[in-house]
C-alpha cells in the first residue's frame, strides 16, 4: 500500500532531472578517486579496499530506482566534491553544539576523531573510546555485519572513511550519563565530502544512552571567506554500526542538524542479539537534501525495539527516511512512530519496511506514520511496507496526514492566544511527542526552539 498525499494546489508532476547513468558512473569514479588516505593504514586499509571493489559493480541511484523514487539526488551529483582537509577548531567553535547537561563528549571533526575536544579524562569506568584508525583488528568482526552494508552509499563510506570512533560499553556496565557523540563539519571554500564513521559495541548486560549529532561549525579562522562561491557546501555520508550483545540496552538519539547548504546521507545499522533492547529517536531537521536509513536486524529472540522519528522540512528541503526492521527470531517486539512536519514547498518521505520471515513467529510489530502539512505546497510521501511470511504474528500499521485545523486554532484563540502562538503551540505539541524522548532537557528545548523558528522563517 502506498499513500501519497499532497494538497490540491501542489504540483503532482515530478521534475525528471535525471543525471544519466554514464554520468553517475563517472561521478562515482571521481568520488573514489578523491577519497582521502587513511590516517593510519593497517588492517583497515584492507577493509576499505574491499569496499572499493564492491563499488565497481554498483551504480549511484536515480529516481528510477524504487528506493529513491521520491528523492532526486541530481543536485548532489551536479556538485564536485573535493577531499576534506583536516580542520583546526577551537573549543569556542564548539559552543553551540555542547550543553552543560551532557558532560561526556566525544567529538569527531571532518571525519577525524578529535581527542582534544573530547572528555576522555572524565569517561565513566566501563566505557572505552578510541579512534577507529588506530583500533586493533579485534573489532573487525563487528564491522560490516549486515547485508545493508553493501548498499552503494554505505560502501562508499567504507571505501573512503579516514577515521572515526569506536565506543565500547563493557559487560554488565550501566552508564547513567548520556554519551554525547558529535560529528561536526567545517566546510571549506570548495564543496567537501566527509565520511564519518562510528562503531558502537554494547557488551552483554550493559546499558547506555547515546546522543549522536550531525552538523556544521563555522571555524573562527575561516569566518572571512564566506562570500566565496561554493563556500559552505558539503556532503556528509555517515555510517554508524551498532552491535547489542545478549541482554544489552541502548537508548540512542540521532539528530541531523546539518547546515542548509549541506547534503546528508546516513545509515544506522543495528544488530540486536537475544533479550536486547534498543530505542532510536531521530530528528531530521537540517540539510538541503537528506536521507536516513535506520536498519535494525533482530538476530536473537525476545528483543525489543522502539523507533521514534521526527522530520522537519521547510523551504525547499527534501528529507527522506527509509527504515528497515528485519525480524529473524520469534518473540520480538518493535514499535515505530514516524512524524513529519512539512512547510513551504518542502517534501518529506517516509518508507517503513518491516520484514517478518517464517521463523519470526509471535512477532509483535506496530508502525504509525503521522504527518502535518503546514502549507498548500508542502508534500509528504509515506509508505508502510510490511512483508509478513510468518502466520502467528501481530502487525499493525497506519498513516495520517493532517493540517492545523481552524477549530483547534479557534479553541486556543478563544483562550486568549493569538493565531501565531496558537499555531506554535499546536506544532510544538505535535513535535513534543518525539522530542520529549531526548534524554537532555537543554537539547530538547534547543530542538523545539529551532523547529519553531525554522517554521516561522
Amino acid at each position: 500500500m502506498s499513500l501519497q498525499v499532497t494538497n490540491l494546489e501542489a504540483e503532482l508532476k515530478e521534475p525528471q532531472s535525471l543525471v544519466s547513468e554514464r554520468d553517475r558512473a563517472q561521478y562515482l569514479a571521481q568520488l573514489i578517486e578523491h577519497r582521502n588516505p587513511l590516517v593510519v593504514s593497517g588492517w583497515l586499509g584492507t577493509v576499505r579496499d574491499r569496499a572499493l571493489n564492491l563499488l565497481r559493480d554498483q551504480a549511484l541511484p536515480s529516481t528510477r530506482d524504487e528506493d529513491w523514487r521520491f528523492t532526486d539526488l541530481s543536485a548532489l551529483y551536479r556538485t564536485t566534491f573535493q577531499p576534506v582537509k583536516p580542520a583546526i577548531v577551537t573549543s569556542t567553535d564548539l559552543d553551540t553544539w555542547t550543553t552543560s547537561d551532557l558532560p561526556i563528549r566525544i567529538v569527531v571533526i571532518n571525519g577525524v576523531f578529535a581527542p582534544e575536544h573530547s572528555t576522555l579524562d572524565t569517561l565513566p569506568s566501563g566505557i572505552t573510546v578510541q579512534s577507529l584508525a588506530t583500533a586493533e583488528e579485534a573489532i573487525q568482526p563487528y564491522l560490516l555485519q549486515q547485508q545493508g552494508m553493501n548498499e552503494v552509499f554505505t560502501a562508499l563510506n567504507t571505501a573512503s572513511f579516514t577515521d572515526g570512533v569506536v565506543i565500547r560499553v563493557g559487560k554488565n556496565q550501566v552508564i547513567e550519563t548520556p554519551i554525547h557523540l558529535l560529528f561536526l563539519t567545517v566546510a571549506g571554500d570548495v564543496p567537501v565530502a566527509i565520511a564519518p564513521r562510528a562503531l558502537i559495541i554494547a557488551e552483554s548486560g550493559s546499558a547506555a544512552t547515546l546522543i549522536e549529532e550531525y552538523g556544521a561549525i563555522a571555524s573562527s579562522s575561516r569566518a572571512m571567506t564566506h562570500q566565496e562561491s561554493g563556500e559552505g557546501t558539503y556532503w556528509t555520508n555517515a555510517v554508524t554500526e551498532i552491535s547489542l550483545a545478549d541482554n544489552a540496552q541502548l537508548h540512542h538519539t540521532r539528530t541531523q542538524r546539518e547546515a542548509t547548504a549541506g547534503f546528508h546521507i546516513g545509515k544506522t545499522a543495528v544488530a540486536q542479539s537475544r533479550d536486547s533492547r534498543y530505542s532510536l529517536t531521530t530528528l531530521n531537521i537540517g540539510a538541503q537534501i537528506s536521507r536516513h536509513n535506520p536498519e535494525i536486524v533482530l538476530t536473537g529472540i525476545q528483543t525489543e525495539t522502539h523507533l521514534n522519528g521526527l522530520t522537519l522540512a521547510v523551504q525547499s528541503q527534501l528529507s527522506d527516511t527509509h527504515s528497515l526492521i528485519h525480524f529473524a527470531q520469534p518473540h520480538c517486539i518493535a514499535k515505530q512512530l514516524n512524524k513529519c512536519i512539512v512547510n513551504d514547498r518542502a517534501r518529506a518521505v517516509f518508507n517503513g519496511r518491516i520484514e517478518v520471515p517464517k521463523a519470526a513467529q509471535q512477532t509483535n510489530a506496530a508502525q504509525l506514520s503521522r504527518n502535518l502539512l503546514l502549507s498548500s505546497k508542502a508534500r509528504v510521501d509515506t509508505k508502510p511496507q510490511l512483508e509478513i511470511v510468518a502466520d502467528d504474528v501481530k502487525c499493525a500499521h497506519g498513516a495520517t496526514v493532517s493540517q492545523l485545523e481552524d477549530e483547534e486554532i479557534f479553541y486556543l484563540q478563544s483562550r486568549g492566544l493569538d493565531r501565531e502562538s496558537a499555531c506554535d503551540l499546536l506544532v510544538k505539541g505535535f513535535a513534543a511527542e518525539i522530542t520529549e524522548k531526548v534524554p537532555s532537557e537543554k537539547l530538547r528545548s534547543q530542538l523545539l526552539t529551532s523547529i519553531l523558528s525554522l517554521i516561522r522563517d
Binding site: D406, Q413, R415, G416, L425, A431
Partner: protein, 263 residues
C-alpha cells in the same frame, strides 16, 4: 442576581449571522447586566450554539447585520483572542484535544496571554503552579490532570470540568456555557455547576445555553430566554423553565410544533 442600575456587559441588537451562506441568526436582541445569570433554551437548530460562536468570533460564522457591544465597545472590532482577553469566555460544547501540549502549559500560556494584554505580570512556571493548584479545587480536579495533554483521553465530564477550570483561571466578565451540561452524569453536573456558582460575582455575568431544564436546578438563572428560528421569542424568570419542561417548546413558539433533533 438582578442588581438595580448595574452596568450593561453585553448588548445585542437585531443580530443576524450566517454560516456557509445559510442564515441562522435572524434579528436576535438581548441585554445582559453585571451580576445576572441568563439561560438560553430552545430546540436543536434554533441557533443557540451559533450565537455563542458569533460572540466569540469563530471564523466560520459571518455577521450580516445588527450590533453587539461588550462593556461598551463594538465587539466586532475585536479579534477572537482580544475578546477572550477583554473577558469573554466560552466553555465549549465539544472541547478540543491538543495532543502533546500539557494541560499545565496550556493553562499558563492562556493565563499569561491575558496578563500581558492587561499589562499585568506574567507568571513563571513556579508561581503559576501555586495559582493553579488553588484553582483546581473549584472543580475538584485531580492535579494529575495538569500533566496530561489537553483534554486528550479525558472523559466527557473531565473535559467540561477542565473548561470550568479555565474559566476560573481567566476570570471572565462574561462566561458563556455552551451545553456544558449535555452528556454529564449527575455527579459531574453537580461539580461543574458548583464550580460555576463559585465564580459568579456582582461584576460578572453568565450566559448558559442549554437544551435541558435540569441544569437550571443547579445554576439558577435570573432570566430564561427561549430561542426559535434564530431569534429570542420569549423571555421570563426561572419559573419559565418548568413550564417549558411540562409543555414543550412549541408552547412558546408561533410556528408549527418543532420536532426536536430535526435539524
Amino acid at each position: 442576581m438582578i442588581i438595580e442600575n448595574s452596568d450593561v456587559i453585553l448588548s445585542v441588537k437585531d443580530l443576524s449571522a450566517e454560516v456557509d451562506g445559510i442564515e441562522i441568526l435572524k434579528g436576535l436582541s438581548l441585554e445582559i447586566k453585571a451580576g445576572e445569570i441568563h439561560a438560553i433554551m430552545g430546540p436543536n437548530g434554533s441557533g443557540k450554539s451559533t450565537f455563542s460562536k458569533v460572540l466569540t468570533g469563530h471564523p466560520a460564522y459571518t455577521v450580516t447585520g445588527g450590533e453587539v457591544t461588550f462593556k461598551g465597545q463594538n465587539l466586532f472590532d475585536l479579534e477572537p483572542q482580544d475578546r477572550a482577553r477583554e473577558g469573554i469566555f466560552l466553555s465549549f460544547q465539544y472541547p478540543l484535544e491538543i495532543p502533546g501540549v500539557s494541560n499545565l502549559d496550556f493553562l499558563r500560556v492562556a493565563y499569561n496571554s491575558k496578563q500581558k494584554y492587561k499589562g499585568l505580570e506574567e507568571l513563571d512556571a513556579f508561581d503559576f503552579d501555586d495559582l493553579i493548584r488553588e484553582t483546581l479545587d473549584i472543580v475538584k480536579m485531580n492535579p494529575a490532570f495538569l500533566d496530561r495533554s489537553v483534554n486528550e483521553g479525558f472523559s466527557g465530564g473531565e473535559k467540561k470540568r477542565n473548561e470550568i477550570l479555565q474559566m476560573a483561571l481567566l476570570e471572565p466578565t462574561l462566561g458563556i456555557l455552551d451545553e456544558t451540561d449535555s452528556g454529564l452524569d449527575i455527579d459531574a453536573l453537580r461539580i461543574v455547576a458548583n464550580g460555576v456558582n463559585q465564580l459568579t460575582r456582582p461584576d460578572n455575568a453568565v450566559l448558559m445555553i442549554t437544551h435541558y431544564q435540569r441544569l437550571l436546578d443547579y445554576i439558577v438563572p435570573d432570566y430564561i430566554h427561549v430561542m426559535e428560528g434564530g431569534r429570542i421569542v420569549t423571555t421570563g424568570g426561572k419559573e419559565l423553565a418548568l413550564e417549558l419542561e411540562e409543555r414543550g417548546y412549541e408552547w412558546v413558539t408561533d410556528k408549527e410544533p418543532v420536532e426536536v433533533g430535526a435539524r
